[in-house]
Each structure stands twice: as structure tokens, then as C-alpha cells.
């Protein structure tokens, strides 16, 4: 992509804003969708959260200070939106977000937009048994293959802590799969 500062200027200038924002959508809609879908699990919810994410990006773009990279800033918004969504959904259903996560994984078998084998479902179940932060780190590292450096920028956690978190997650997942 072109120079990021230049691109942000294009996004802020009312004359070039529309074209620049369309370009932003084109570049980020797929990776951000995957990121959100991995957290909220079903397509309709992912669609809602993704739309809200881009609208928030548009609204807060003028406050973007360029301290972090545009992509990590957008991932951070998407992560916050997705986790807030899950927590609110759990609250509405009167359960915890962990219990909701397990329920959502159980629903995956019946989901039209899930084409998973036995092992894929097993892995999802194993992930759902982890604490929220470990789930997030594992999904970002294993499914999305985001580098620790980038993940550190997105989540505001040190690389060392992220590596430890991932290591714990893998251990627990392996045990979960073995035990089931």
C-alpha cells in the first residue's frame, strides 16, 4: 500500500474521502471479517459487527493520531466491537460469555455457513474452554497467522506475554482434545 500518512490524508480530505474509504473497505473487509467471525462465530453477527467496525473507523478517523499503524488501529476497533458484542449477547441471554461461547460452538454443526469436520469442531470446542484473552491470542496466531509484533500493537500486550499466552493455550487445547 502507498505511504500510510498520505492515505490517511486522503481519508480525511472531503474531496478524496469517498474513494479512499472504498479502498480501505476493499483492503480490510476480508481480514477483519475473519478476525470478527473467529470471535463471534456466526455469520450474521460477524456481518453486524464488521459494519459497525467500519462505521466507527470512519467516525473516529479524524482522531487517529498515527501513533500505531492504521491496520492495528482497525484491528483494535474490530476486536473491541466483537468482544463487546459477545459480552452484551451473553448479558441479554443471562449467561456468561464463556457459557455463550460453548453454546455457539454447539450450534456450529447446524450452521449453514460452517463446513467443518470433526477435528475442526473439536478444536473450536477446545478454544471455547479457554479464558477470553487466551482464546483471542490463539485465534489470532493460529487461524489468522498474525505476527506477534503486530498482535502486540493491536492488543497492547508485550510480545513475551503473548507468546506465553499462546503456549498455555496450545497446551490446554492439546489436553482438551486428548481427553475428549
Amino acid at each position: 500500500m502507498q505511504d500510510e500518512k498520505e492515505f490517511i490524508q486522503e481519508l480525511l480530505n472531503p474531496k478524496t474521502q469517498n474513494a479512499a474509504f472504498q479502498k480501505l473497505l476493499l483492503n480490510y473487509q476480508r481480514p477483519l471479517y475473519s478476525h470478527i467471525r473467529n470471535i463471534v462465530l456466526n455469520h450474521d453477527d460477524a456481518d453486524d459487527v464488521l459494519q459497525n467496525t467500519f462505521i466507527k473507523v470512519f467516525q473516529y478517523l479524524k482522531d487517529f493520531k498515527g501513533e500505531s499503524k492504521l491496520f492495528s488501529w482497525m484491528y483494535r476497533i474490530a476486536t473491541n466491537e466483537a468482544i463487546t458484542f459477545i459480552n452484551q449477547k451473553a448479558k441479554k441471554n443471562g449467561t456468561t460469555s464463556e457459557a455463550l461461547q460453548t453454546k455457539l460452538v454447539d450450534n456450529l454443526k447446524a450452521d449453514v455457513y460452517f463446513d467443518g469436520s470433526e477435528i475442526q469442531i473439536k478444536l473450536q470446542k477446545a478454544i471455547a474452554s479457554l479464558p477470553q484473552k487466551q482464546q483471542l491470542v490463539f485465534k489470532m496466531k493460529y487461524y489468522e497467522e498474525i505476527k506477534y509484533e503486530h498482535m502486540s500493537e493491536i492488543l497492547g500486550t508485550s510480545v513475551g506475554a503473548l507468546k506465553a499466552s499462546y503456549h498455555h493455550a496450545v497446551k490446554k487445547i492439546e489436553e482438551f482434545v486428548k481427553g475428549n
Binding site: 473497505l25 473467529n38 462465530l41 470512519f58
Partner: protein, 137 residues
């Protein structure tokens, strides 16, 4: 399942699929939901314009004050002149009548004005050689 090691397994994907053509319409969906810029309403009560009008009005009033003063005082002068002329030439009022209308104080003032020194009268009589002729005639 014995000895399950995530790294030894072939990569397990998430298994999520996306409805066909989802990303083709996604952009449009978002663009339609973006907050639109408020259209600018051109108001007749525009603040800036009001200032212009107010300044113009005050300026007009200020400029017209001397004009007004000038006009109104002129009118008064004309009136007194007409009055004086009327009294002097047109009226049938006698001097005695006017004196009657005057207050004692006013009459005293006039007396004061006419209070001329005896000496001065003498001097005037001396210097005026034609005086005798006037008296005789």
C-alpha cells in the same frame, strides 16, 4: 486421541464459510450507513449578515443625528425671525403694552443697560458741536 500435538497435525482451518457474493455488496451496505454531512441551511437569520445589517443601521442613525439637529434648529430660528418681524412691523401692540407685560426685573435690567455716566453725557455733548442745532430744531 493419543498424543495430540497441534504442531504435528496438518493445519486445521476454522471451517467458516461466507455467503456467496457477500463481499460484493458489503461495501455498498457500509457506505449507505455512513453518517452523511449535514446539508448547509442558508438562513435569513444568518448571524454574520445580521451584524452587517445592525452596523449599517447604527451608522445610518449616527449620520442622521447632525442632519436632524441642523434641520430642527433651523426651523426654530425661522420661527423667531418671523415672530420678531411680526412684532416689529405687523402688530398693533404699543410700547406701553409691552412694558406692562415685562416684569420689574426685566425693566431693571434694561435700566442697567442704559445707565450712562453723567460725565460721559457731558463729554458727548461737548464733542458734538451740532447738538445745539438739534435742540433748537
Amino acid at each position: 486421541m493419543k498424543d495430540f500435538k497441534l504442531d504435528n497435525e496438518p493445519k486445521i482451518t476454522s471451517g467458516f464459510t461466507i455467503p456467496e457474493g457477500y463481499f460484493d455488496t458489503f461495501q455498498e451496505k457500509v457506505l449507505l450507513r455512513l453518517p452523511k454531512e449535514e446539508p448547509k441551511v442558508i438562513s435569513i437569520f444568518n448571524r454574520k449578515k445580521n451584524w452587517y445589517f445592525a452596523t449599517a443601521a447604527i451608522l445610518m442613525i449616527m449620520l442622521s443625528i447632525p442632519l436632524f439637529n441642523n434641520y430642527s434648529t433651523q426651523k426654530e430660528e425661522v420661527d423667531t425671525q418671523i415672530l420678531e418681524n411680526y412684532i416689529a412691523y405687523q402688530s398693533t401692540i404699543s410700547q406701553d403694552e409691552i412694558v406692562d407685560l415685562l416684569e420689574q426685573e426685566d425693566i431693571d435690567k434694561m435700566k442697567m443697560e442704559l445707565n450712562v455716566d453723567d460725565r460721559e453725557i457731558e463729554e458727548a455733548l461737548k464733542s458734538n458741536s451740532n447738538l445745539e442745532e438739534y435742540i433748537i430744531n
